[in-house]
């Protein structure tokens, strides 16, 4: 192929323009880099236990309708066909409700556990499950401190079910179904930073109404779902003994030692072998 002078300039021009436009376009994703983790603030003092979140979740995700109603003393659990549940608790300040779903940790144990990146922390903050990658090992379930991922044990093509913060809806510019439909405004969607500010404000404005603590601000290294409550969180069935370090930190030390062992061991082994070699001479290999 011969490239004439004219053609050369044409190509050069097109390339130049493309590069120039490309640069301009890149200015848009610049804001995308600064996308913050989103989350949901759940104010249990506002929750009336109406289960609208449960049914709107089921509808948005094509899952069966909720089973049972919140009843103090009965702990309903999320399972492979219910991604969120609301439970009632008898607390020191009377009956109170608590919604349970995936916490969308900042550094999730499940995504660190996943060997195929099927569990994935998106840059928007939602932790999602990708079926085309998952091999069904259930290590995410072993690792999750909140026991959130659920497995379809009675399916030949089992899925992992968990709240994904309505990631599909987020992509369409909508907010999670449970937040949108909550009639009591117990749920607020926003960036995690804003939500923590909002939660602090509520505590400051009504110090007698809330315990001075935001569940999820530090638990498990910080979570996307944040909880406000009138009573200590353990009265609402939340695990308050979780570490404040993220869970992947627990296996970090081991993983960091791997490259060291990989480099040092063969060298040491070869060294020892050389050191004991004088005896090798009279004995043949694979005798």
């Amino acid at each position: 192929m011969s490239l004439g002078r004219r053609n050369f300039f044409k190509v050069l021009g097109v390339t130049g323009v493309t590069l120039a436009i490309g640069k301009e376009l890149r200015a848009v994703p610049k804001t995308e880099n600064s996308i913050e983790f989103s989350g949901v603030l759940y104010d249990s003092t506002r929750c009336v236990g109406c289960q609208t979140c449960e049914s709107s979740c089921a509808e948005a995700n094509g899952l069966p309708d909720p089973v049972g109603t919140p009843e103090a003393g009965v702990v309903r659990k999320t399972d492979e066909s219910h991604r969120t549940v609301v439970n009632a608790f008898n607390t020191s300040k009377g009956e109170a409700y608590l919604k349970k779903q995936c916490m969308h940790c900042n550094e999730p144990a499940c995504t660190a556990a996943c060997l195929t990146q099927a569990m994935y922390k998106t840059k928007e903050g939602a932790v999602i499950w990708r079926g085309d990658k998952c091999m069904g090992c259930r290590y995410c379930m072993v690792s999750c401190p909140f026991d959130i991922p659920k497995f379809e044990y009675h399916s030949a093509n089992p899925k992992i079910e968990k709240c994904n913060m309505c990631y599909g809806r987020l992509k369409e510019g909508k907010i999670p179904a449970c937040v949108e439909n909550c009639p009591a405004e117990a749920l607020v969607f926003g960036t995690r930073r804003e939500l923590i500010k909002e939660a602090r404000k509520r505590i400051n404005d009504n110090p007698e109404q809330y315990v001075d603590n935001i569940y999820g601000e530090h638990e498990a290294g910080g979570t996307g779902f944040l909880y406000l409550s009138a009573v200590p969180f353990n009265e609402l069935g939340l695990n308050t003994s979780l570490q404040t370090k993220s869970y992947p930190e627990l296996s970090k030390g081991f993983l960091y030692s791997v490259p060291t062992v990989f480099v040092l061991w063969p060298a040491i082994l070869l060294g020892i072998r050389e050191a004991t070699k004088n005896k090798h001479s009279n004995v043949e290999e694979n005798e």
């Binding site: 556990a113 099927a118 085309d132 998952c134 063969p266 072998r273 005896k279 005798e287």
Partner: protein
């Protein structure tokens, strides 16, 4: 003993390689042995169970729950089985790195045992995967979950199987009469050994590291940040106890194949191994005590789980350790075998305590495996023994290599 009786392959007796293989595939010896009579029905039964499992899902034959997603198949087949396969890396370390030639005669059978263990436990892992068709994802590189301990373990299983196959391959070459291949393959042994020991260090401890993130779910007497170290150290004596145990059975079952010289050496080998076991167990026990004291869990000792912990530590670590020391000094082969069995029980206890018994020990509904999970586990072991027996009856594993190996140096 004349080698020519066994080395059918020396020139393939004029047969083509295919005729030779077809002949070798045929069963040999008596068919209706007690082992066959027990194992065949179990294996057929679990074949049916496996079909049901892939058709109706894992829940159809297992008792796994949302809280306890890993049961017997992971806790026993994989985690415990791999610990017992640790003999291969310890022995190759002793023979090829420390040059302890005394143990050379049992290297091949141990490596074979280790290799088959890995093949079958990886196979058992496939049964446990919900979506096994995606099993290649972490290997082919379209989705590397490099922050996962399981990713490391999966790769190490794969690579270690290859390393052990290379370590064992000279025996296959001798069986097939492939002289040049044997020369090349045995030249790769040292590299495979060094690679294999490195891999073993990492994945024996890695199996423990899998459970590090389950901090709030495992009973505090068994959970500590040192699980990986514990798993590694205990794999040394778990593997060697298995070698002692398996060796004493092989020496009875495959009596005819073993040369006079190796028969005489056997007791010396067992006594040597018992000393190594004792020392490794001493280190392990000491580590456990240190971890316990640092954990400050004195109050937990006076609970049912605490008694269970004490039984494991004193009855199945300290006691066999003392037995190993004692019988090493008194040359008591019988007591060494008893100690080996106690040690193996202790390792099974320890692995199950971390993975199944102590996992969610406080749950309202405890996970107890179904008889079907047990049957599948049993048949995995049986199938492995079948292959093991088949290989030993054909390849020079226990018996001497064919004469041409030493002729053409």
């Amino acid at each position: 003993m004349s080698n020519t009786d066994y080395t059918l392959a020396k020139d393939n007796d004029g047969k083509s390689i295919w005729q030779f293989l077809a002949f070798e595939l045929k069963p040999r010896g008596k068919f209706l042995t007690p082992f066959n009579i027990i194992s065949i029905p179990v294996m057929i039964l679990s074949l049916v169970l496996i079909v049901i499992r892939f058709w109706k899902g894992l829940g159809s034959i297992t008792n796994l729950t949302q809280e306890v997603p890993w049961g017997l198949w992971i806790g026993f087949d994989v985690v415990t089985g791999v610990a017992f396969a640790g003999g291969a890396y310890v022995l190759t370390f002793m023979v090829y790195i420390l040059n302890m030639q005394k143990y050379h005669s049992i290297v091949r059978i141990t490596v074979l045992n280790g290799f088959l263990a890995y093949v079958f436990y990886a196979g058992a892992l496939l049964l446990d995967l919900g979506r096994p068709w995606n099993v290649v994802n972490p290997i082919i590189g379209n989705s590397f979950g490099t922050s996962s301990v399981l990713f490391l373990v999966a790769w190490h299983f794969l690579l270690y199987m290859i390393a052990e196959l290379i370590e064992f391959s000279p025996a296959v070459a001798e069986w097939l009469g492939a002289k040049r291949a044997r020369k090349i393959l045995s030249g790769m042994t040292i590299a495979a050994v060094i690679f294999g020991i490195t891999l073993s260090t990492l994945h024996q401890s890695g199996l423990g590291a899998l459970y590090l993130m389950a901090k709030d779910k495992i009973h505090p007497l068994w959970y500590s940040e040192f699980i990986p170290v514990m798993f590694f150290v205990s794999s040394i004596f778990a593997g060697l106890s298995m070698v002692i145990f398996e060796g004493s059975i092989s020496h009875k079952v495959f009596f005819k194949q073993i040369s006079e010289k190796n028969h005489k050496a056997q007791n010396g080998i067992i006594i040597g191994l018992s000393k190594i076991c004792a020392v490794a167990m001493f280190a392990y026990f000491f580590l456990q005590v240190l971890v316990f004291v640092h954990g400050k869990h004195w109050d937990l000792l006076n609970t049912p789980m605490g008694y269970w912990y004490l039984l494991e530590m004193f009855g199945f670590v300290l006691l066999p350790m003392l037995l190993f020391f004692y019988s090493y000094r008194t040359n008591n082969i019988f007591m060494i075998k008893v100690a080996a069995i106690l040690t193996m029980l202790g390792v099974i206890m320890n692995r199950l305590n971390v993975t199944v018994i102590g996992f969610r020990w406080d749950a309202a509904v405890r996970y107890v495996p179904t008889w079907m999970e047990l049957a599948v586990t049993l048949s995995v072991i049986f199938t492995e023994i079948w292959i093991f027996r088949w290989v030993i009856n054909r390849m020079p594993v226990l018996r001497e290599s064919p004469s041409w190996v030493n002729d053409k140096k």
